[in-house]
């Protein structure tokens, strides 16, 4: 009996399950303990709980929004304003940081001594300074560098720039520019069809179609044409000088510009290192082999170096994108109305429901992060080396 018990006890599988059950038990016990404490403390302290507050009128004004919202809307609408602003600055930041980072990364490998030195200096400078400092610096720098409203820079009496922001005309009602994103999708679809045809033709006849030029024309040109058509057919609200400032139109606030600039310059420093690492990881022999096959330097870069470098670069780029998404929360320090600022700041103060609000905020970041990683994983799988 005891021998059987001992054998049972020393069985690796049994022990594995016992230890796992213990860990899981401890884990859930701790969580349960925290939750019980919190609910007890909240009842004792008379703090309201539940998610009803989301449907209360917010009464909070937001200076910069890309979705329709007024202070008469509910708090849940305020949340969407924050989410939209977070996504706007993050996605734009990712695109611009990638471009700037690529340029700097390539500059770091340049044969030109001065260019290389400047790029290296930039990277070392940016990587070793806290982002928060960057954000403050850009913010107060941007505000100080721009003139007050009465001395605004103007162009064609339709665009104005001052320390309250960049004033541009906006459509009087609705969102006519939704058509542009449809046009963009059409452009991408056309490009994919064209590329399939070009690949087939090259395989059949050996003729090379200038796919990149045509692709750029389609992807940029089609939405641009749509934008022009829309611009000419809608009625515009043009900024007009008022007592204090300009009225009408759409304003790009300095908080947005400063946060975007800080995120882009900061992240570009890290992207540059990823790019440099990726390009260095492509063996020299690859380039030599390409040259001996008679490929031009441009073709070598496009067909040989970049595809291989991308493979190395995608995983670290994913984490840079995720960092940028999370770092957009630094906007809270300079009044950019992103989710932490409007929801964990203003809405939390108005309602006092810390637990619910923090939980929602964290959940949104996790979902957004998950979406970015899933997209990057899909892309990674697409370009991954297929070994046979």
């Amino acid at each position: 009996m005891t021998a059987a018990l001992r054998r049972w006890f020393y069985d690796a599988r049994v022990r594995a399950w016992i230890s796992q059950a213990a860990v899981a038990g401890a884990m859930f016990g701790t969580i349960w303990y925290f939750v019980a404490n919190a609910s007890e403390n909240m009842v004792k302290a008379g703090i309201a709980s539940g998610f009803d507050f989301l449907w209360r009128t917010s009464g909070i004004d937001v200076p910069f929004k890309i979705v329709d919202y007024t202070p008469q809307n509910n708090i849940v609408d305020l949340l969407w304003v924050g989410v939209a602003n977070t996504l706007l600055v993050s996605l734009l930041g990712m695109a611009l940081a990638t471009i700037l980072g690529f340029l700097i990364g390539i500059a770091r490998l340049s044969k030109n001594f001065l260019l290389r030195g400047l790029a290296t200096g930039f990277v070392e400078f940016v990587r070793n300074i806290p982002l928060l400092l960057f954000v403050f610096f850009w913010y107060f720098g941007v505000i100080r560098a721009l003139p007050p409203p009465r001395d605004s820079f103007g162009a064609f009496d339709t665009f104005f720039l001052n320390n309250r922001g960049l004033y541009v005309p906006a459509p009087t009602e609705g969102h006519p520019f939704a058509a542009v994103s449809v046009a963009f999708a059409i452009g991408v679809a056309l490009f994919l069809v064209l590329r399939a045809w070009a690949v087939k033709r090259q395989a059949a006849t050996g003729k090379i179609f200038p796919i990149w030029a045509a692709g750029t024309a389609l992807i940029v040109g089609v939405p641009l044409a749509a934008a022009i058509v829309v611009a000419l057919t809608t009625s515009w609200s043009v900024p007009v000088r008022g007592g204090f400032n300009f009225r009408g139109g759409f304003v790009l606030v300095p908080e947005f510009v400063a946060l975007l600039a800080a995120l882009v310059t900061y992240t570009a420093g890290f992207v540059a290192e990823v790019v440099r690492g990726g390009i260095l990881a492509v063996g020299k022999g690859q380039k030599e082999a390409a040259a001996s096959l008679g490929l031009t330097p441009g073709q070598t870069l496009r067909l040989i170096v970049v595809p291989q470098a991308l493979r190395v670069m995608v995983p670290p780029m994913t984490s840079q994108y995720l960092n940028l998404l999370k770092n957009s929360s630094f906007g809270a320090a300079i009044a950019y109305p992103e989710i932490v600022s409007v929801f964990m700041g203003s809405a939390l103060n108005a309602t006092g429901q810390a637990i619910e609000i923090i939980a929602i905020t964290l959940a949104i970041y996790l979902v957004a992060g998950l979406a970015v990683s899933m997209f990057m994983n899909w892309y990674n799988a697409r370009i991954a080396l297929v070994t046979r």
């Binding site: 594995a16 230890s19 796992q20 059950a21 860990v23 899981a24 884990m27 925290f34 939750v35 404490n37 919190a38 403390n41 909240m42 340049s110 044969k111 030109n112 001594f113 001065l114 260019l115 400047l118 070392e124 400078f125 990587r127 070793n128 300074i129 806290p130 982002l131 928060l132 400092l133 403050f136 610096f137 107060f140 995720l322 999370k326 770092n327 957009s328 929360s329 630094f330 809270a332 320090a333 932490v340 964990m344 810390a354 637990i355 923090i358 905020t361 964290l362 970041y365 996790l366 992060g369 998950l370």
Partner: protein
């Protein structure tokens, strides 16, 4: 002649190169002189108050006047020697543990990870052993930044090791919990975590936790998740044969892990760990959102003082310079480690 040849090869090899060179020279010429003027030539260095400062240059008088506060916060002036000793000890131990040439590594690492935390707390907090008690609400400035970074790093390290092992474990429950923990803390912004720690910890714990500890707990959780990923990289790089050899010698999981696998994995992941530590030290600045006055926070607060209002740029430059030197030194160290590791592995 040689210089000319060098310039030709490095600066003016092609027309495009020449254009780039000229553009770079223009950038330097355009921005460097005003920058030097502001920071050095037109700056005010001496004096006691803002009347010593002029419009054209930086007002370093502000930094001089508030220097002690930027370093020590509101720590009692008679006791600041304790901070100096704690700091010196940290540097000495850090160099001992981090510099390859120095002997006795077997003692240095436990000294940093186990002994120092207690000595440091005793020196800074006091309350027994002859040192008067100094409350954490009097802490601030650079000393608070270093404290939070070092202690969050020290607490996060063992947690990170456990999480990394958990993620590599064969046991599904433990693996799931580890993955969930790591991905959760890696997925949320630190600013939100600091908010979370400062607002929620008091509600979910039965006792009152010092607000500095709350911030350290928040930072620890996040950095542990990042460290776990860095260590996982190291674990994956240990050849499978090592595990098999350890098993063949009859070592159990824990003994094989501690004696064979972890030492190798940690050595490999050291550069990545150092990079996470740099990121952590930069992110401690966010505690100013919950009104803890770290270096940046106290600079920020001092520039709202009526006596010094408007000199925030000088303050930011000062704080930025300190961060830059500290982070740059660490990143150089990490890069040299990486190079040595690379060299060792290619043998």
């Amino acid at each position: 002649m040689k210089a000319l040849a060098w310039a030709r090869a490095n600066l003016f090899a092609t027309w495009i190169d020449a254009a780039i060179t000229l553009a770079c020279i223009w950038v330097v010429w355009r921005f460097l002189p005003p920058l030097l003027d502001w920071t050095i030539f037109k700056a005010a260095w001496l004096g006691d108050d803002r009347s010593a400062c002029s419009a054209g240059g930086a007002c370093w008088v502000f930094i001089r006047a508030r220097f002690d506060q930027f370093m020590y916060g509101l720590y009692p002036a008679a006791q600041t020697w304790r901070i100096d000793i704690a700091g010196a000890l940290l540097v000495i131990l850090g160099v001992w543990a981090g510099w390859r040439r120095l002997p006795g590594k077997r003692y240095a690492i436990p000294a940093v990870l186990v002994v120092y935390p207690f000595v440091g707390i005793w020196l800074l907090l006091g309350g027994f052993g002859g040192l008067p008690y100094v409350e954490t609400r009097q802490w601030g400035g650079l000393m608070l930044t270093v404290f939070m970074t070092v202690y969050a790093g020290i607490f996060a390290f063992p947690l990170g090791v456990l999480l990394a092992l958990g993620r590599q474990s064969n046991l599904p429950v433990i693996r799931t919990i580890s993955v969930a923990f790591i991905e959760f803390w890696r997925g949320v912004p630190i600013i939100a975590v600091i908010f979370l720690a400062s607002l929620l910890l008091p509600l979910i714990l039965p006792i009152n936790v010092d607000r500095l500890i709350r911030a350290v707990v928040g930072l620890t959780l996040v950095i542990a998740a990042y460290m776990a990923e860095a260590i996982r990289g190291g674990l994956q790089a240990v050849p499978k044969g090592q595990y098999e050899a350890a098993a063949a010698l009859g070592l159990g999981y824990w003994r094989a892990t501690i004696l064979i696998v972890l030492p190798q994995a940690l050595r490999i992941s050291l550069p990545a760990l150092a990079n996470e530590f740099i990121a952590l030290s930069k992110n401690t600045t966010l505690v100013l959102i919950v009104s803890l006055f770290d270096l940046l926070g106290i600079v920020h607060a001092a520039s709202a003082d009526p006596k010094w209002v408007g000199y925030n740029v000088e303050g930011y430059v000062f704080a930025g310079t300190i961060f830059w030197f500290a982070c740059f030194a660490m990143s150089r160290w990490s890069a040299s480690l990486e190079r040595r590791l690379g060299a060792a592995r290619s043998h």
